[in-house]
């Protein structure tokens, strides 16, 4: 199994490398990191622009810059992925891309983890119910809700959930659900319990909004997989043997039906990451999502590269985790 993991990781290295080259070229062609500086009013002098160009290594050709970004050889010590440096940002020399991305990753992971767990739980439950009562009113209702969540633009959903939260606060007469930020503005003087409560109050609304994006697709897959298993011969056989319905469900059907979901869930992690971009904008979290939006808006090339690499690595790891989970769920799969 360890060998399997190592081999899988080794295979992803060239893939990530190719992805980085591809992204670098794309970003380079499509954006000018100096654009913001050039529109400043009153306009900065030529010297200022030239200095900025050199600081961002824009005076060098693209292939040289890629090599520099990867290795950091010939740079000013602020660049070189292999040395742990992500490169300079248009936000000035003080902006440490690596530290920034790491800090924001922490914020976003909290949101993603909560949303994914909630979505998986709900998806499995409703998927199973839908499948067992196929074409019943319950199934049709759950299908409709799932499709509606699938059809709702994430940002629209987010805005509506926010309004619902504000309304609930009004009814409760106290602010339980917060609508902006990952924590209260001023957390000094709060004890641990208050901090946790505060973080929780900020987490609820965006989590629900983000959760629905994953839930919709997953519950559909779970329903399909469950149907397939329920119609399979071995489940029929188990029933015929006189096993209790509940046992058949838990021991045989559900376990097998979870296999497709794990692979789908791994792939959808990428979509959830994309969802955070919208949800964080709506709820004003300072996580990876808003970092991306700012970086795109300012053509902050090295921040974008860092973002894409990190997201790519996460997706790769999620896929790997899914492969390993197969083994747990399906004893027939063995890793050599």
């Amino acid at each position: 199994m360890l060998v399997f993991v190592i081999r899988r990781l080794l295979v992803t290295v060239p893939v990530l490398l190719a992805a980085s080259m591809f992204s670098f070229a794309l970003i380079d062609v499509t954006g000018d990191p100096l654009a913001d500086l050039l529109v400043q009013q009153p306009p900065p002098s030529q010297e200022v622009i030239q200095a900025e160009r050199e600081r961002l290594y824009l005076d060098r050709p693209a292939y040289e810059r890629y090599w520099l970004w990867l290795t950091g050889i010939g740079g000013n010590g602020d660049i070189g992925l292999l040395q742990g440096e992500f490169g300079p940002s248009v936000q000035g020399p003080a902006f440490d891309v690596g530290a920034e991305v790491a800090a924001r990753m922490g914020v976003t992971l909290r949101l993603v983890a909560a949303a994914v767990l909630l979505a998986l739980g709900l998806a499995v439950a409703t998927g199973v119910v839908s499948a067992m009562r196929q074409y019943s009113v319950v199934d049709h209702t759950l299908t409709f809700i799932g499709f509606l969540a699938l059809a709702m633009p994430t940002f629209w959903l987010g805005a509506l959930i926010k309004e619902a939260g504000v309304w609930a606060n009004g009814q409760l007469g106290t602010t339980v659900f917060s609508t902006i930020g990952a924590s209260a503005a001023d957390t000094r003087g709060m004890d641990l319990w208050e901090r946790i409560a505060d973080a929780g109050g900020h987490l609820v609304l965006p989590t629900v909004a983000l959760m629905l994006t994953g839930y919709a697709a997953w519950s559909r897959y779970q329903r399909t997989a469950m149907l397939e298993v329920l119609n399979s011969d071995y489940v029929r056989l188990a029933h015929a043997k006189g096993l209790r319905r509940r046992t058949v469900m838990r021991r045989h059907a559900l376990r097998t039906a979870l296999i497709p979901l794990t692979s789908v869930a791994a792939v959808t992690i990428a979509e959830i990451l994309a969802g955070t971009v919208l949800i964080e904008t709506v709820f004003q979290w300072r996580g990876m999502g808003t970092l991306l939006v700012e970086a795109v808006r300012t053509s902050d090339a090295y921040v974008l590269m860092g973002w894409l690499m990190l997201a790519g690595t996460l997706v790769v790891l999620a896929n790997l985790a899914a492969d390993l989970l197969y083994g747990v769920l399906d004893p027939r799969i063995r890793y050599e």
């Binding site: 009153p42 000035g92 003080a94 309304w167 009814q171 902006i180």
Partner: protein, 592 residues
């Protein structure tokens, strides 16, 4: 429910239901309607801009103030820090020698910081001095004085001047004119001498809140950090240190106790504040939030208390006006929209055609459709340099048909100049004039405006193609347009702007105006010694620019601010980059 006044009645489940069933279609908000919101603390601000909403303050309290975008750095001298957002974040921290009051006419020196009003020592060479008050000191007890002023100026100059090596000043302009800086023996007076032949009628504002540093930066921290400010290289290093370090210093009423550039700064009173008016609020949180959609829910929810966004939004303003305990103030701000013509275009180099084009455009209709919903009182701007309530303002378009939308007059101008409108197409010598490329950034207000301009020009047979701009600097710099709409920012200090916009030698005279008389008037402005004289030359230049039909001002873009009940001494200062935070030290909760 003709107007949704009490917002909480249509939220939550109702909103969800509405989304599904369009149930809310009956609940319409009236479009516009003026007023300063139900809170009404700013009702006097129209007639009494400088002192409205003032009163007794109670001790204590906390406020969370929204700034509508992110500051880029911890000083405003660097290119990335050079925004109103950074300035507003540092208000109450960085001391300055003075600022313009909300009426745009009254200039107030900071007499807590200054011992006396600054003094003009000599006109030739141009020399002036500032003397700092004895009690003025940084929060650690170090006196504020000449060294701080000199360090600030050094960090604001460009490398060529030799004061600093590596200072990335975003606007060295007036500071590069300095020839000599001298500190008095007691360190309390600083004297600046400008280079031979240079003058600065705005010398009183040399170290004020409107300049690139937003005031005076500390010099004494350099030594702690191991820098010697007599060494140019060390000045550069100190520049970077200040730019990237959360300020622990303060020379103002508040001091930053915690903060970052992405979420907020938290400020508490500066224990060592030397000013006459002491701050009363325990905590001021300046929060950065660029999603205007989130402000109203956050305000309803009690997560924020007020803000002064940089852009108007019809619906946000309308909702704020409907909230029972919120005051709103809308009025003209410190940037203006205008239409520029490219004088180097094959056709538009003819001044008669340019005049006709501007005559066919109805400026008042454009500004009403752009801003009228939120600010029904909006008027077209009639002077490039001065706002309508400025004492220097003069209606430069009074005798000109430009901007009236008078298509008949435009057609007459064209006919006299030898053009013909044949089957709805403007021609000269049988050749079609244009079509012209009509451009602006993809901002909704500007794109709508372009469509209106397009329909106006159709009436005189001029065809236009609308093209969105993704890179404004590049497009303007390359003169990649025929007709363009964009904005300039202004300040009550007006000297620098006209020269940049119209002088043939300026890098930002994008449309290539090259008229010797305009240059002359602008040069005279540069050597004027009083503001009145300079203003006169600015208006002379403006008149010539109108005659040349080069720039058609549309309007001072409106701005708004909002605040919940319970606070006093907060009012907007829309001509000032600091906006409502200009007097942050006086803010307080209302005393009962």
């Amino acid at each position: 429910m003709a107007n949704v006044r009490n917002r909480s009645r249509l939220t939550g489940p109702a909103a969800v239901a509405a989304a599904l069933a369009l149930a809310a279609a009956g609940c319409t908000g009236g479009g516009g309607g003026g007023g300063t919101g139900a809170g009404g603390v700013w009702e006097e601000c129209e007639s009494d801009p400088n002192t409205c909403n003032s009163g007794e303050r109670a001790d204590g309290g906390e406020i969370t103030w929204v700034v509508s975008d992110f500051p880029g750095a911890w000083t405003t001298v660097s290119p990335e820090g050079g925004s109103v957002y950074t300035l507003q974040m540092l208000s109450g921290i960085v001391p300055s020698t003075g600022q313009w009051a909300p009426d745009g006419e009254t200039y107030e020196f900071n007499m807590d910081l200054l011992a006396e009003e600054p003094e003009l020592v000599s006109e030739d060479p141009f020399t002036f001095s500032f003397t700092f008050a004895d009690g003025a000191e940084w929060d650690d007890g170090t006196p504020i004085g000449a060294d701080d002023a000199i360090a600030t100026v050094k960090m604001s100059t460009s490398d060529e001047e030799g004061w600093c090596e590596g200072c990335r000043s975003r606007q060295p302009g007036i500071y590069d004119d300095v020839d000599e800086m001298e500190a008095s023996e007691d360190g309390k007076t600083v004297t600046f001498t400008l280079k031979d032949g240079r003058a600065n009628p705005e010398w009183r504002g040399f170290l004020d809140a409107h300049q690139i540093a937003g005031g005076i930066l500390p010099a004494h921290l350099a030594e702690e950090q191991g820098y010697d400010l007599d060494e140019p290289a060390d000045v550069g290093a100190y520049f970077e240190w200040l730019n990237e370090t959360v300020p622990e210093y303060s020379g103002g009423p508040y001091t930053i106790v915690e903060g970052d550039l992405e979420t907020q700064v938290i400020m508490e009173p500066n224990e060592n504040w030397y000013g006459e008016v002491q701050p009363t609020l325990d905590t001021v949180i300046v929060q950065f939030n660029d999603n205007e959609n989130s402000w109203v829910p956050a305000l309803t929810n009690g997560e924020i208390d007020g803000g002064n966004p940089a852009k108007i939004n019809d619906d946000v303003i309308e909702q704020l006006r409907g909230m029972p305990e919120v005051s709103v103030d809308v009025g003209p701000g410190a940037s203006w929209e205008h239409i520029d013509l490219n004088t180097e275009n094959e056709w538009l180099q003819d001044v008669e055609l340019r005049r006709a084009v501007f005559t066919a455009i109805d400026a008042q209709e454009i500004v009403e459709r752009s801003y009228g919903t939120a600010y029904p009182e909006v008027q077209r701007k009639t002077n490039h340099t001065f706002a309508a309530d400025s004492p220097h303002h003069e209606d430069l378009f009074g005798d000109s048909p430009q901007g009236t939308g008078d298509a008949e007059e435009a057609a007459r101008i064209l006919e006299e100049a030898g053009y013909e409108i044949v089957d709805g197409t403007l021609e000269r010598d049988g050749e079609q004039v244009g079509p012209f490329r009509l451009r602006a950034t993809a901002d909704q207000v500007r794109q709508d405006s372009l469509q209106i301009i397009q329909s106006h020009l159709e009436e005189i047979g001029v065809a236009t193609e609308i093209e969105a701009i993704n890179d404004l600097g590049g497009v303007l710099g390359d003169q990649d347009y025929d007709i363009v709409q964009f904005g300039w920012s202004t300040s009550p200090w007006f000297l620098i702007n006209p020269g940049q916009q119209w002088h043939s030698g300026s890098g930002s005279n994008f449309g290539g105006l090259d008229v010797p008389e305009v240059d002359e008037a602008l040069d005279r402005m540069g050597t004027a010694t009083t503001l009145e004289e300079a203003a006169e030359y600015a208006n002379d230049a403006g008149r010539l620019v109108v005659d040349q039909a080069y720039v058609l001002p549309l309007a001072d873009e409106p701005r708004y601010s909002f605040v919940t009940d319970g606070f006093t001494n907060i009012r907007d200062n829309r001509q000032h980059s600091l906006r409502a935070t200009y007097n942050i030290g006086e803010w307080g909760t209302v005393a009962n």
